[in-house]
Symmetry: C2
Subunit: 750 residues, 2 copies
Amino acid sequence: MDFNQLFHQPSVRPYLMSARFGLEKESQRVDLKGNLAKTNHPATLGSRDFHPNIQTDFAETQVELITPVRASIPEVLRQLAMLHDVIYRSMPKEEMLWPLSMPPALPESEDEIIIAKLTDQEVAYREYLAKVYGKRKQMVSGIHVNFEFAEELFRALFAEQDEWTDFEEFKTATYLHVAQQYLHYRYIYTYFYGAAPYALDNYFTEDAPTQPVRSLRNSNYGYKNKEELKVSYRSFACYRQSLADLVAQGKLIAEKEFYSAVRLRHNRQVPDSASIQYIELRNVDLNPFEENGINAEQLTFLQAFLLFLCTKEKVEAVEDYIRMGEITNHTVAIEHPFAVSSLQNELQSFMTAFKAFISDYQLPIDPEYVANWESMVAHPELTLAGRLLTALNGRNQADWAVEAGLAYHKKAWAHPYQLAGYRGMELSTQILMFDAIQKGVQVEVLDEQDQFIQLTYQGKTEYVKKANMTSKDCYVVPLMMENKVVTKKILAKAGFNVPSGAEYHDFDLALADYEKYRQQAIVVKPKSTNYGLGITIFKEAFSQDDYKEALLFAFKEDQDVLVERFIEGTEYRFFVINQEVQGIMLRVPANVIGDGIHTIRELVEQKNTDPLRGRHHRYPLEKIRLGEIEALNLKEQGYQFDDILAKGQKVYLRENSNISTGGDSIDMTDAIGEDYKTIAVQAAKALGAEICGMDLIIPDYQQAASSPDAYAIIEANFNPAMHMHAYPYQGKGRRLTLSVLQLLFPDLTV
Amino acid sequence: MDFNQLFHQPSVRPYLMSARFGLEKESQRVDLKGNLAKTNHPATLGSRDFHPNIQTDFAETQVELITPVRASIPEVLRQLAMLHDVIYRSMPKEEMLWPLSMPPALPESEDEIIIAKLTDQEVAYREYLAKVYGKRKQMVSGIHVNFEFAEELFRALFAEQDEWTDFEEFKTATYLHVAQQYLHYRYIYTYFYGAAPYALDNYFTEDAPTQPVRSLRNSNYGYKNKEELKVSYRSFACYRQSLADLVAQGKLIAEKEFYSAVRLRHNRQVPDSASIQYIELRNVDLNPFEENGINAEQLTFLQAFLLFLCTKEKVEAVEDYIRMGEITNHTVAIEHPFAVSSLQNELQSFMTAFKAFISDYQLPIDPEYVANWESMVAHPELTLAGRLLTALNGRNQADWAVEAGLAYHKKAWAHPYQLAGYRGMELSTQILMFDAIQKGVQVEVLDEQDQFIQLTYQGKTEYVKKANMTSKDCYVVPLMMENKVVTKKILAKAGFNVPSGAEYHDFDLALADYEKYRQQAIVVKPKSTNYGLGITIFKEAFSQDDYKEALLFAFKEDQDVLVERFIEGTEYRFFVINQEVQGIMLRVPANVIGDGIHTIRELVEQKNTDPLRGRHHRYPLEKIRLGEIEALNLKEQGYQFDDILAKGQKVYLRENSNISTGGDSIDMTDAIGEDYKTIAVQAAKALGAEICGMDLIIPDYQQAASSPDAYAIIEANFNPAMHMHAYPYQGKGRRLTLSVLQLLFPDLTV
């Protein structure tokens, strides 16, 4: 079977760079000075017994992030970024992740290295490892890359070859071949991306290199089995059998104790499967220059490299070939990062062949990556280990690592309401996704533009759009809320106060009712309000001519017009989830308060430095603008932008209270009494809503809700924003997203 | 208490003509020749034990229509019209309603008059009536008008008066006063609108007038208690006590046997209530010129008349005053319709005062009504009885009645898919409302423009928008279906065939995949399709340039573009409700078939005469247009509108199969096998949809659904039209609306 020839087939070529990736990334939790954390794994992450994405490896401080499998490098990296945001903000803010594969300075006594507090079985396993290898060696961290060629690629290859008649056998043989080659050639990856030059205090108990090297972790000083284990890569059956034998003989406590650079993986759903489904590459050091430990260039290299290895000739003396790979890899791993490698000739011929391969098949690879690979071959100081050594510049590796770690820590906390990788989505969805991931709910984004996600927890799947449009509400309920007249009818019938009024389709009938309204405060408005167009408010007695004009104005916008009683008071948003008021929000128009020193313009600029404020609805608050409307508003109050306000003097730059025009959000949940909350809950119930933003006008919330005209419900919202409750301008943040998750998954522990 | 003065108050005046109305209308079911029907009350109407709107009165043939209470005359009349449509199309098509109060010719033997087949108790009551009054007298029909002054009017009046301190007592006293006055002055109504000049065969067993009269029904020959009953109208307490006494003494079998022209009614929810809530006027004859038996002029008269009667002075000698009313009423009732009444002076002075009253208070009454009342006073032949006599023109009253009845019957059947009173609503909603009313489900239209209705059955309320957006579907499910990409992802994951493909946000990435598609049949389309803009189909191998052009074309319409496999075949709509395929529809583009004689234009015009075809989506099919697109389409096939087609030759005037552009709907429900139906049901289940239109492309439905590429699901629709299934161009109609009702109300017997 000649892969070179197969790869040239037109049916195969479009799929050459199609693959699936899954990453597992370990790192140590440390305090902000770089000492191993003394705290437990964060409790906010729920139970580790089943958390699919955030686990602990050997030690309690050793976080393991597990991405879902994704069909492209950007997608899997975005998952990794997202998991980093979640783990960072689930840990105490005084902790960060150690950016190196080699652990930070370890305690002098091994007893102070705490084994991960998992199930008894998992703890026993780790205690065995501690006994056999010593706890210190287990503290090394790295990344495992699970790699699977795309099904389409295998299908196309299979159709073009004639050696194999069984598809699964063909796949298995191909992976086996690639694994053998990878084990032989992995020194190339070590040369490029090895990144573990030094050990820190109390890591080595034995003799160790005194010079910096490319990768201690990938050398014989690293992470390897105690004795030479005979695991065969001749066939998948042999591989599985030899591993099983080693466990039976007690040479391994479990198959997972086999520390090879490549593991052959079958479909876990089919325990007896004779097919390899994917391979796990375990020789990737953390890239300390990357906040998430790895970058697209590295993964692209691995992908193209594995493809390239397919084209290598089949090996007969498999054991020797792999043994040779171990020797060359150790050799390269313990070389000085700046040294020209003893395998320089091999590296050069590889690079020539690899470049030709990429260009022959026109693989869609960023030319900058290829140029960098070439440069690294030519200039050892440009390899990852070389760059790290340069960066250290003679400093202690730990100091550099703390500095790098702090930078990543700062970035993760800069906009705590955003979720890395998904910052283009709506804020409420980002927050919901954060909470879901944190609690161990699996998240799939089905449509990013549409804010459509899929959540799976303990085998149960729920779909969510725009963070709170779920299966828990009936279809007809939001349609009801969308229609203000229908909402009012239903609420009125159920006995709630709503602004009384009438709907008119006919101008003359509306006009004829002037007498009914003339002594009242009323609002005349088009039935479907669009940005407040066509609305007139009469707060006191008004003439028939004024009324007529208001009607004409409203009828211009819609064929139906509402005349409603105007209720004076403050509007509050009651957020009801699952028959409970989870948050009450007061929105106040954009404003500044004087200090006797600064101009209005300066006060606005000061207020806008709040990290909660931004633009384009991707922040919990919007920056206050200094535009025409604001200028006009100030002018009406007798001010200009450059006026200095007296100390304590409050000035509004807007009439409307929308957050989107710079308004302040003020949490009132604890201030407003149970009686009003009960009304909001009961009203939501009357509408049949599980999730609902109920807007009440309340003249004075100190008054009992049962007193006459104590409130009026003016609107029910079926997709109320949740982010403003999570990060209010003033008052306590309310994690409504967690309540949504609990509504969807009642078993969830939050 | 001076009502004249009260009515002048500015706070009262706007509400003078505010009131609530409920109508109960009886009529006899007859065959199309005017003989009493021999059939049972229609079984399609479900159980009479609780039907709120369609009942039987005395006889099995005597239909009683009961409107819900409505706050305006047009609204209550529209309810009555709607009920007529329902009863007409629930009866065999060979039956109609008799348009007169006086029954059609009765059988010679009373035994052939069948008592309504109701509960034992109700039958026993009617058997008693038959014994006491004879069955014949019970066969008279009329309308009862339940009248209630608006709460706002009473509130305003109560606030302005100082005689009463209790609101309920004030209301009760007012109704009592009005009832006394009405009983005294009711001859005026009899004069205007009495409409029972003749009896037909076998009605009278005793002597009877030989001349035509204004109203036999309202005279002493009509419907009245056997003996003079002493029921007091002095107070509501006396009224109730005297009625109770008569029942206790055995003079009445039940209070409802008291045949007064006015009954005083309390709130039925409060059996011991001491307040009158409304009054029931029982002296209204069927207006034979109206298809529904009554018109707005009559109801307006009653309303204004009752208001006018408020202003009459309080009476002390109540009994005498009412007795006088009975005498004058009988007098007027048995006068010849053309005769100047013996109460002409009284009629004239009433009219003068009444007109002044209307004008003084500027009551919003159509001036034509007032003019007609004046004319009727001046010209007896213009009264309703007068007009009827003129119309008879010497003919037998029965012949005229059959003719009128047939006209109303024809009208009710002309567009059987429409519902009178609600023809502006969407057809599917009209059909759903029809079915609901028929089965005894109460319907409230909450928002007509929005197609939002409320259904109540046996105390349970459901809300429905656009006929099938209900509480039975989850909110997120239609949102899912709205997003084609999400739908496809979920269906594909669940194992259904969907057109494979990819979504592109980036033009270059899409272009780079040319190699993947070049040998396939594909569709390139914007993610959100709008009227088919931006779509390109490649049915065979295509060049990269063509592909690029297709991408540019699609990206012009949307920022995301889909490239999907194109599936050749026929598209069928599978309508799934409650996990069952209730209908399968094939839509065929607008077409005609030649006959060797007519031109295409003529064939189109012929086809368009089908009563199912209309315009503006208020018909099950649209008329085929002869526009530019059609002309162009014909031209491409080498035809013009004025060409004559050979016999049997089929020509399409459109490429698209939409019903809205004249397409044909063909029911395929019985033709397509269970295997395909199971796929549609399971796919709906995978999406979690209760109501769903699943669009499948099937190359050959004779082939098993399990064969490769036997089908592909291309879309799931969350608000599929139901009317086209009910009235297809070809094949069996499917009443999907009934299935929706059953889904909402599982107890409903359909």
